[in-house]
């Protein structure tokens, strides 16, 4: 059947290939516009004067660009940017430390230690990956309420210090790829498991730890339902709820709302470009859903 190809001239093949590639790129370019224009719109609205926002036809570049919107939005008492940012960073950093450390310790046990009930426990761990969060939502709230912790970040952060199924699974898979001989040698030298985990495993699975850290950080940064449930005092709000509250008060000030919205989005986009390798690797390895 290869004769079909041999019958065609190399030139015709080349032209056909170029046409196909051109078509694919045309289509890809068009669709990527559909994905990027909303982001452009977010940016462009944030530097518009109020009367150039909802116009027909739409205005693609404001005359003149009103950069002061950012000053107005980020210094507005209704959107205390730095306090919101501080709260968000606190939530992100503590929860990330918690989940990375605890998940690594648990993953190590699953990957390297032999114990009764290990496979059963690991099976349960995998099953909880599919557990819908809704079924634990209310009793967890009640539990923290009884402990008097509603209104603080404790309910949002504490669970992270006990590991998470997904991170444990991911780190275990990584640790399984590390040759046993490496840790065995350390065993012979009398090193304990904690030392092996810390000195041998952690450096070797660093990329996986970074992936776990990045995705947890972003998850906490974007988390909305958690803070909505547990935080009532506006001085404790994170950025996500802060923006929501800001919008409720200034419903029609789209330029200020988008300025605030972009301000909380840009750190994530910047992080993506700096850490792109880990992002792509992380998503592909895992298929995790934020």
């Amino acid at each position: 059947m290869t004769g079909v190809y041999q019958g065609e001239s190399a030139n015709a093949m080349k032209v056909q290939k170029l046409l196909v590639q051109g078509g694919i790129h045309g289509l890809l370019f068009f669709i990527s516009l559909l994905f990027l224009i909303p982001l452009w719109w977010l940016f462009i609205t944030s530097i518009k004067p109020l009367d150039q926002i909802l116009t027909l036809p739409p205005i693609w570049w404001p005359q003149p660009p009103q950069w002061e919107n950012y000053v107005a939005a980020l210094t507005s008492p209704a959107f205390p940017f730095w306090r919101l940012m501080g709260n968000t960073l606190f939530y992100c950093v503590t929860s990330t430390i918690g989940t990375v450390v605890s998940s690594a310790v648990v993953a190590y046990a699953f990957a390297r230690m032999r114990f009764t009930g290990r496979d059963l426990l690991f099976g349960i761990t995998l099953a909880t990956l599919l557990l819908p969060g809704v079924v634990t939502l209310i009793p967890t709230y009640v539990l923290f309420q009884r402990m008097g912790l509603v209104g603080t970040y404790a309910p949002l952060i504490i669970p992270y210090f006990f590991g998470s199924a997904f991170n444990i699974f991911l780190l275990r898979q990584f640790m399984l790829t590390i040759p046993v001989e490496l840790s065995d040698a350390a065993y012979v030298d009398g090193a304990g498991d904690f030392l092996i985990l810390w000195r041998i495993m952690v450096p070797l699975v660093k990329p996986a730890l970074i992936v776990v850290a990045i995705f947890n950080f972003i998850y906490a940064w974007n988390d909305f339902l958690g803070p909505l449930l547990y935080l009532d005092d506006s001085s404790r709000y994170p950025l996500s709820i802060g923006l929501y509250a800001f919008r409720t008060r200034f419903a029609l000030q789209w330029n200020l709302i988008t300025a605030a919205a972009l301000a909380i989005t840009i750190p994530l986009i910047a992080a993506f470009f700096v850490l792109q390798r880990y992002f792509i690797e992380g998503v592909t390895l895992t298929g995790l859903k934020g």
């Binding site: 719109w41 190590y108 230690m113 114990f115 819908p132 634990t136 209310i138 009793p139 006990f162």
Partner: protein, 304 residues
Amino acid sequence: MSRKTRDNLRAYLFVSPWLISLLVFTAYPMLASFYFSMTRYTIVRPPVWIGLENFQVMFTKDDLFWVAVWNTLYYTVVSVPLQMLVALFLATLLNLSTRGIGFYRTAFYLPALVPAVVTTLLWMLILDPRAGLANAALEAVGLPKLGWMHSVAWSKPSLIIIALWTGVGQPMLIFLAGLKNVPQSLLEAAIIDGANAWQRYWRVIIPLLTPTIFFNLLITLIASFQVFTTAFVATASASGASPAGPLNSMLVYMVHLYRQGFRYSAMGYASAMAVVLFLVLVVLTLILVRSSREWVHYEGASPR
């Protein structure tokens, strides 16, 4: 103490955080959800056992429950297959293209990073019924303007558009990795057997990708049934008690549950709603897993 006991003790010390988590943050709340679902519970007073009354009210008296069920089903049934198809389509295009992959990949993935609140507010602006960008585009090509989130017919499609914008990037990356993993030797063998590009795609590549499709489908489906932030932000208003979108057309299941539990303090009723959704998702997951034996091709397994 025998060596085995010592090993066990040491290992359980390592897994103890996770054991605690499974007990305190998974097993207990799951069981408690079932218990609360059979009580009247306002959190300030202890729960009162009322048997199946919550379920009875839910199925026979609460009209909004069925509205929420319908909205969520509509949203899920349309958005999940669309997300999967678009993601697969984009991954296929990217896999075929020879250059610029980095740019396109970034373009499709960036929206997935944007916080859900930001996404929702942004699309509320774009889908503004009077002078939003979407209606400007419709008008430019001679189509009538739409009411989007302000109309009963278009409010759910609005949510679905948002789901597509944010929800395609992640599965697209996973599909792309799956496509890159298709062994070249299999494709060459198919060419020798006379398969054209179309046949190679449907008979070789797609079957090899089915485990990835299955996994993504399951995760997206479970998440979609629990959609909250977009619908909540899109329907929020200062007054609070207003309907979720015109005629409650954006009242998804989780928003109804949230309102019952945390606005009206009907924790028992909200728990009953959680239990129903949980059971539905368990059944759906089991059906999907069962059906996967028919259509998911696992490496090493003989094809049916």
